[in-house]
């Protein structure tokens, strides 16, 4: 296997280095370079496909949105096309999630594949304008994509590009927050009376998709589409990008065929640790639970898990799921836009309950009540996602919550003293 490409999402001075592994389709030809000239050496300019042709191709492999919700792309495309009037296409590179780097990796290594996909979709929908939403928190990615868009503008004068820079906030990449940003309003979620596909930018039907989704669409329009369709399983053809948290080291972005066993992706140490799957809005897998499962929507769903936006966070040795969840909920509470009452008040209360539980004062019943109270009661899914992570921790690590309540932490192999500090160290 060829060596990984190292990128810095925050720019040259950024501390975080992400290893991007060369892959079969979306992450192929990484070593060729990211410029348009490099890209065109192995990938011809996208063909002009009719909407019907494009629908056939994306339906054949059931392309799903890669922003986390996994909505069928063909259904979204049809909804936008069927809503008539003037349509809009938006490429969303605002990941928001601090532990996800897959869209950053695409923006830094294969921006032109993403833009090819967007041009293709725009032409099929009869749009001349493509909007690109850059991540606010990752200056390196924003600069790389800006450069790529400049190059595109010189190659293809038919498409006009509009760049927008999202804020560096967790909820900034949410679809309605992105439309707000594009419309010149604060980059915050608002109540969705209708989906963006029907009523988005300027009230027009808007095809807003995650950067990775457009990259897959570009592959499907190209010469490697048969090979792409032959990858994965019969039920879920193709591949997806995952961000594997580095188990303390640098994160890795990798392209994985659907159906790949987790044993091929994670070390034994990681497989035998609790793993947070799907990121900070994800679900916890108990130690060893990923053994025997595969990277697929259906396979994960059977175990009550979801890949979400593809973040895989194994706990490192000595870290505790109760403790980690409390820290994550604190972070998510601070990331609330603070505009919806239940989120603004409920998430800090949930964080308090989790920290108390971690310190040995069992507030799990309070946490469960708050999970029910905040779910479904916000303009965006931020409270729902936060509640999901807590609920899965409580469901899978009830024994550990009980251990904390009796003064012990199994993972940190220590006892918890009454004032909340962990004492004792290794036994």
């Amino acid at each position: 296997m060829s060596s990984p490409v190292l990128v810095r999402p925050a720019g040259d001075g950024g501390a975080t280095v992400v290893a991007v592994l060369p892959g079969a389709h979306v992450l192929r030809d990484l070593s060729a370079g990211a410029s348009l000239a490099d890209h065109r050496r192995h990938t011809p300019a996208p063909p002009t496909l009719s909407l019907a042709d494009l629908l056939v191709r994306v339906r054949a492999v059931d392309v799903r949105g890669r922003g986390g919700a996994g909505f069928p792309f063909a259904t979204k495309l049809e909804a936008v096309a069927g809503a008539g009037r003037r349509r809009e296409v938006v490429v969303n590179l605002s990941e928001g999630e601090p532990v996800s780097f897959k869209d950053a990796a695409l923006g830094l290594t294969r921006p032109h594949l993403v833009l090819d996909g967007a041009v293709l979709v725009a032409r099929a929908l009869g749009c001349r304008v493509v909007h690109v939403v850059l991540p606010g928190e990752r200056a390196g990615v924003a600069a790389a994509v800006r450069r790529a868009v400049d190059e595109c503008g010189r190659e293809d004068t038919r498409t006009r590009w509009r760049l927008h820079r999202a804020e560096g906030r967790f909820v900034a990449g949410q679809a309605h927050a992105v439309v707000e940003l594009m419309s010149g309003r604060p980059n915050l979620p608002v109540t969705a009376w209708q989906p963006v596909a029907l009523h988005g930018y300027h009230g027009r039907p808007t095809l807003l998709s995650n950067a990775e989704t457009f990259a897959h669409v570009a592959v499907l329009a190209g010469e490697h589409r048969a090979a792409y369709a032959a990858t994965g399983t019969a039920e879920e053809p193709g591949t997806r990008l995952l961000t594997l948290d580095g188990h303390g080291e640098r994160p890795t972005v990798t392209e994985v065929a659907h159906g790949t066993p987790w044993e091929e992706l994670l070390t034994d140490e990681a497989l035998d640790s609790p793993v947070l799957v799907g990121g900070y809005h994800g679900t916890w897998a108990a130690a060893g639970a990923l053994r025997g499962l595969t990277v697929s929507r259906t396979g994960m769903a059977s175990a009550g898990l979801s890949l979400g936006a593809g973040v895989v966070l194994p706990l490192s040795d000595g870290d505790c799921p109760v403790h980690r969840t409390a820290a994550i909920v604190s972070y998510l509470a601070a990331q609330s836009a603070r505009r919806c009452g239940p989120c603004r008040h409920g998430l800090p209360a949930l964080a308090d309950a989790m920290h108390a539980t971690d310190r040995g004062i069992d507030r799990s019943a309070r946490a469960r009540a708050l999970v029910d109270l905040v779910t479904g009661r916000g303009a965006c899914a931020h409270p729902d996602g936060t509640a999901r992570t807590v609920a899965s921790m409580l469901a899978r690590f009830g024994d550990e919550v009980a251990a904390h309540a009796s003064g012990d932490c199994t993972y940190r192999r220590s006892s918890i003293v009454a004032d909340g500090r962990v004492a004792g160290g290794s036994r």
Partner: protein
């Protein structure tokens, strides 16, 4: 077709007037924000409309579901 009360959460300031008009369907959480219990039955449609009209921030809407 049944009807549901939906809250525009960023607009809702937790004044609680909806609860006063329609306690049959709305309770208040510990921060005084409304909790809507289920769809609106036909016999409560009139009161539901009044609750939506009464909201000082116009944060409550009747939507088909």
């Amino acid at each position: 077709m049944s009807t549901r009360l939906r809250v525009d959460w960023p607009s809702c300031k937790g004044r609680g007037l909806c609860f006063e008009v329609l306690p049959e369907l709305i309770s208040l959480d510990e921060w005084d924000y409304p909790v809507v219990h289920g769809d609106v039955p036909d016999d409560l449609l009139g009161l539901a409309r009044e609750a939506a009209r009464t909201c000082p921030t116009l944060a409550l809407r009747l939507v088909p579901c």
